[in-house]
Symmetry: C2
Subunit: 200 residues, 2 copies
């Protein structure tokens, strides 16, 4: 995240433009920025007791299977730009689960494409620039998988309703199929890579 705070990147990140565009006609996003709603502490053990197929249970299983801790980093929020990144960062694993993108290479690029589609933030274009240089010079054998994930994730993100600002904690006991349907995501999404179907 340090790179996002550097002065040069912040100048080009144009958070005000990004936020204005994302918020237009989207009360949920307007409200998120107004209140700077944060994800509350996540009790994974409690979520894992929820009925099978609920968002909370699928999320808890996903965290357990992948050895992830959702409460690891507390990101300070000072302004709209840092709120934007903090919100995306702390909900990253939820986006994985709801969008159906796995944690393999293709899945991470799919989530990246999802971000690009739903935010159109130049910061993600900058990250893609770094990523494609890395692909060209260090990981050419990953080019197809990365592109495949990015392309599928981007188009899925375009089709879906905005994820940003969703009060996920209010949806833990809702069946994930309902959450996906309401957000315009396929019932059994399989954009690229392994997906999260095994955990779900």
């Amino acid at each position: 995240m340090a790179i996002a705070r550097s002065r040069r990147i912040r100048r080009y990140a144009r958070w005000d433009t990004v936020i204005a565009r994302m918020s237009a006609d989207e009360p949920q996003i307007q409200s998120a920025f107004a209140k700077r709603t944060r994800l509350r502490w996540i009790d994974v053990e409690e979520l894992s007791l929820l009925p099978s197929g609920t968002l909370g249970r699928v999320f808890a299983d996903h965290l357990t299977v992948n050895g992830l801790n959702p409460n690891l980093i507390d990101i300070p929020v000072e302004d709209d730009g840092s709120y934007f990144l903090a919100h995306l960062y702390e909900t990253h694993d939820i986006w994985h689960v709801v969008s159906g993108c796995g944690t393999d290479e293709a899945g991470e690029f799919a989530v990246g494409g999802f971000y690009a589609a739903q935010t159109e933030a130049p910061f993600f274009a900058f990250l893609l620039g770094l990523v494609f240089f890395n692909t060209a010079f260090s990981k050419p054998e990953q080019f197809r998988e990365r592109m495949e994930g990015l392309a599928r994730g981007f188009l899925a993100g375009r089709r879906a309703q905005p994820f940003f600002g969703t009060d996920w904690a209010a949806l833990w006991d809702v069946p994930i199929e309902t959450v996906r349907r309401d957000l315009g995501v396929d019932a059994n999404p399989a954009y690229a890579g392994d997906g999260i179907r095994k955990a779900a």
Copy 2:
């Protein structure tokens, strides 16, 4: 094209790996590299006399509508890498027409995605790195259109048969619908942007 010839880029371009992967189980591509087949001089006036709907006629109309000269640059071929780029370069406008990608921003990115899918060449990952930095720092308002084109073009390129090494000059009088069908392209492709439907 100068950038593709620089020593540093050539070292990372790994043409031998790219060509080996593209050629595997693809006699058409093997033959193209063996013979280094070039596109012959294109007589646009002659093509424009072909029946409506043939590849040659659609191509000629496309060139005329867009003010393009298909014989502008003769690229010297010294080795497999320069043949690869020369072949792509001189058939670029044909790829546009057959894939159905327009010459607007989204269409150019769609052709780029098509190249990436069909060649998996690190050189295109390098170009994408440049392009996304350009997007982040100079053209943030183009991010969506560029990603949309890239994503749709990439997935279309994955679905299609290999374009590389096709003897296009032998197909001028074939209906473009047949050419597209044989190559696994939609009959009326509309990946992104304007497409070439107007010219077709």
